[in-house]
C-alpha cells in the first residue's frame, strides 16, 4: 500500500501540472483586451483591486456573514499551506519557525471556518439553491484534510522525520516509503485528491477581481459635460 501511494503521486502531480500549464497556455495565447481606457492602467485603481483580492472586498459588500467565514477560510488555508513548507525542507530557515507557529493555529481554525461557511449557507433559507454539490464536496474534502491534520498534530503524531524524508524523496524523484501511520496516509491521499480537484478559479478569480475594479472606474467615465467617452 505504502509503495503504491508513493507511485500514484507522480501521475497525480503530472495531471495537476499539465492542467495548470494548459490553462496558462490558453490564457497567454488569447488576445489581450482591445481598447482599454488609459484609466485602466492607473496604479491606484490596480492597488484597490489588489486589496479587493486580499480582503475579498466584493464579497464583503454582498454578504457580510459569509464574507467573514470565507475570508478566514482562505487566510487559514494559505497560512496552513505555508506552515507545511517545512515538510519539504531538511533544514528550514529560522524565519520559518514563525510561519510554522502561525500555521499551527491556522490549521486548527480551518475546519471551523468551513463548518461556519456551511452553516451560513444552509441557514440562508431565502435562497433555495444556496450551494452547489461541487462546492459541498470541495469544502467537505478540505474539512477532512484539516481535521486529519489537526488529529496528527495533537493526537496521533507520525514520525516527523520520516514524513519529511518521504516528501523530500518524492520531490527528488527517488521516492521512499511513506510513514506507515494510517492517519498520515489518509491525510496525504486527501491532499492528492485536492490536487486533482483544484478549482480553476484559484488563478482566474484574483485577476478578474482586479479587472472588475478597473471596470467600476470605467463606468464612471460617461460623464457630461467634461470627460472623454471612448473607452473599452
Amino acid at each position: 500500500m505504502e509503495a503504491l501511494i508513493a507511485y500514484i503521486s507522480y501521475p497525480i502531480f503530472l495531471v495537476a501540472y499539465i492542467k495548470g500549464v494548459q490553462n496558462a497556455i490558453l490564457v497567454c495565447r488569447a488576445s489581450p483586451e482591445a481598447h482599454l481606457h488609459p484609466e485602466a492602467g492607473r496604479l491606484s485603481i490596480f492597488l484597490a483591486g489588489v486589496l479587493d483580492v486580499v480582503f475579498l472586498g466584493r464579497l464583503f459588500k454582498v454578504n457580510k456573514a459569509l464574507w467573514i467565514g470565507e475570508w478566514l477560510f482562505h487566510l487559514t488555508f494559505v497560512l496552513t499551506l505555508i506552515g507545511h513548507l517545512r515538510f519539504i525542507l531538511y533544514s528550514p530557515p529560522a524565519w520559518m519557525s514563525t510561519t510554522v507557529c502561525i500555521g499551527k493555529y491556522a490549521g486548527i481554525l480551518l475546519p471551523f471556518t468551513i463548518v461556519y461557511i456551511l452553516f451560513v449557507r444552509i441557514m440562508n433559507r431565502e435562497r433555495k439553491h444556496f450551494i452547489s454539490i461541487r462546492n459541498i464536496m470541495l469544502i467537505t474534502h478540505i474539512c477532512f484534510l484539516g481535521l486529519t491534520g489537526v488529529l496528527m498534530r495533537y493526537m496521533i503524531r507520525p514520525d516527523i522525520i520520516s514524513v519529511k524524508h518521504f516528501m523530500i524523496s518524492l520531490l527528488a524523484l527517488r521516492p521512499v516509503m511513506p510513514p506507515p501511520e494510517t492517519l498520515f496516509i489518509i491525510h496525504y491521499l486527501l491532499f492528492l485528491g485536492l490536487l486533482l480537484y483544484i478549482p480553476s478559479h484559484i488563478i482566474g478569480a484574483p485577476l478578474v477581481i482586479i479587472a472588475a475594479r478597473l471596470r467600476g472606474e470605467r463606468a464612471k467615465l460617461l460623464h457630461y459635460p467634461g470627460r472623454e467617452t471612448t473607452y473599452d
Partner: protein
C-alpha cells in the same frame, strides 16, 4: 454531430479568465430575473460557465485525449438555449464576488454559438437580413421611421454641433418617448441635427446582443461617417442599449476613437436644467418611481442624472425600488430575449409593476424604449396597474 472549433478562439484573455474564475458561490442566483421567474438553476450563470468550461476542457484540455476533442451537439444546444434565455441585464456580474463582467461576456459566448451555426434562436436569425433590407430590426419601412411621431415645428438643422439619434426601438415601438426627447430638445433651444429617416439606421445593438457580428462594422462606419459629415461633436441618444454600444464598441468597430462624444439624453437635460437653459414650469404632486435600465445604470453608470432631472420637477416625490441604481432588477426587456422567451419577459415586467404599486407610486418612470414597450405590454391583463411614462415624455408635459 460533433464540433471541433476551439471554444476560446475568439475570446480575449480576460474573457477566458472570467469563464475560469466562477467559484460557483451562487450569489448571483438571488438577483437573476430569469431565476426569479423560472426557478431553473440549470440555466443560471454558474451552470452556464461550467458548461462552457466543459466545452473548453473537452476540446482543448486533458479531457480532449479521452473525448477526441469533440462536444456533443445536444450539450451545445442546451447551452445555447440557456445563454439566449438570459436578458443580459448584468445583475449577476454586479453582485458576483469575483466581479465577472457578465453583461459583456454573455453576448460573446452567444457569438461563439452563432459561429457554430447553433445560435441564435428563432426569428433572431432573421435580424441581419432584416436590418440589411430595412435598416431596422423591426422590418418596418425606413421612410416611416420618423413620420408618425416627429412633432410639428421641430427645428432640425442640416449641420450642428449636437446630433440626436432616435434609435429603432424608440422610433418604431416607443414613440411617446422619442417624441418627448424632441420636445425637450426644442425647449432647451440649442440647434441640433438628425440624419434623414433612411440614413439613421440601426446602431448594431440587436446584432451585437444576439452574437451576430457580421454587419456591425459597416453599420457603425456608415453612421459615424454620416454624423462626421454634419460636423457633429456630441451625439445625443436616449436608448440605453444604443448608448452602451456606441460608447463601448463603436470605437472598436470603427477602428479608432469616435470623432464625437456620446451623451445620454438625461445627462444633457440635467446639465441644461443646472444651467437654467430648461425651465420646468408645471409641478407634479405625485409619487413617482424611477426604474434604472440595466444598460444605463450597470452598463455606463448613468444613475444620478435621471434622478436629478426628476428632482427638478416641483412637488414630485421620488420613490425608489428596493433594488435600484447599479443593483436594479431587469424589467424583462433586455438581451433580445423578450420576443423569444415572451412569458419570462412578461413575468419580469409584472414584478416591476407590482413593486411600483406596492410602493404607492402614482407613476412608473422609465428611460429605455425596450423597457417602455415591454412593461406596457406586461400591464395588459395584469391586476396591478400604474401609469407608465418615459422620463422625457413626462418632462415634455411640464415645460
Amino acid at each position: 454531430m460533433t464540433e471541433r472549433r476551439p471554444f476560446t478562439k475568439d475570446l480575449s484573455r480576460k474573457e477566458i479568465l472570467e469563464i475560469k474564475a466562477c467559484t460557483e458561490c451562487r450569489e448571483c442566483l438571488s438577483v437573476c430575473p430569469v431565476q426569479e421567474v423560472t426557478d431553473n438553476p440549470a440555466i443560471s450563470p454558474p451552470e452556464r460557465l461550467k458548461m462552457y468550461r466543459e466545452f473548453i476542457n473537452r476540446t482543448e484540455g486533458l479531457k480532449a485525449l479521452v473525448t477526441g476533442g469533440e462536444v456533443d451537439r445536444k450539450l451545445l444546444e442546451d447551452f445555447t438555449r440557456a445563454v439566449f434565455e438570459c436578458t443580459t441585464c448584468g445583475a449577476c456580474g454586479e453582485i458576483c464576488p469575483v466581479g465577472i463582467d457578465t453583461q459583456r461576456l454573455w453576448p460573446l459566448l452567444r457569438r461563439e454559438m452563432v459561429k457554430r451555426g447553433i445560435g441564435p434562436i428563432g426569428n433572431q436569425r432573421d435580424l441581419p437580413e432584416v436590418i440589411r433590407r430595412t435598416g431596422n430590426p423591426y422590418d418596418q419601412p425606413p421612410s416611416e421611421r420618423y413620420s408618425p411621431w416627429i412633432p410639428e415645428g421641430i427645428p432640425v438643422k442640416n449641420k450642428a454641433e449636437i446630433a440626436y439619434y432616435a434609435g429603432c426601438t424608440g422610433a418604431y415601438q416607443a414613440q411617446p418617448m422619442v417624441k418627448g426627447d424632441l420636445l425637450v430638445l426644442r425647449a432647451i433651444g440649442e440647434p441640433f441635427t438628425m440624419l434623414g429617416p433612411e440614413d439613421e439606421v440601426c446602431c448594431g445593438f440587436p446584432l451585437f446582443i444576439t452574437g451576430q457580428f457580421q454587419m456591425l462594422e459597416s453599420l457603425v462606419k456608415r453612421l459615424i461617417d454620416a454624423y462626421r459629415s454634419r460636423g457633429v461633436g456630441i451625439l445625443l441618444c436616449s436608448c440605453p442599449c444604443c448608448v452602451n454600444l456606441m460608447v463601448r464598441d463603436w470605437p472598436r468597430f470603427y477602428g479608432s476613437p469616435l470623432p464625437f462624444r456620446i451623451v445620454h439624453i438625461t445627462q444633457y437635460v440635467a446639465d441644461a436644467i443646472r444651467k437654467g437653459k430648461l425651465k420646468i414650469v408645471d409641478g407634479l404632486d405625485e409619487n413617482i418611481i424611477y426604474h434604472d435600465p440595466c444598460y444605463l445604470s450597470r452598463g455606463v453608470g448613468v444613475i444620478e442624472e435621471p434622478r436629478e432631472v426628476l428632482r427638478a420637477i416641483p412637488g414630485a416625490k421620488i420613490l425608489e425600488f428596493d433594488r435600484h441604481g447599479r443593483n436594479s432588477r431587469c424589467c424583462g426587456a433586455g438581451g433580445a430575449a423578450r420576443k423569444i422567451f415572451h412569458e419570462n419577459a412578461i413575468a419580469m415586467g409584472r414584478l416591476t409593476i407590482d413593486e411600483a404599486c406596492e410602493k404607492g407610486a402614482d407613476k412608473l418612470v422609465l428611460s429605455c424604449p425596450a423597457c417602455y414597450e415591454k412593461v406596457n405590454e406586461a400591464m395588459k391583463d395584469h391586476t396591478g396597474k400604474v401609469p407608465i411614462v418615459d422620463i422625457m415624455e413626462l418632462l415634455s408635459r411640464l415645460i
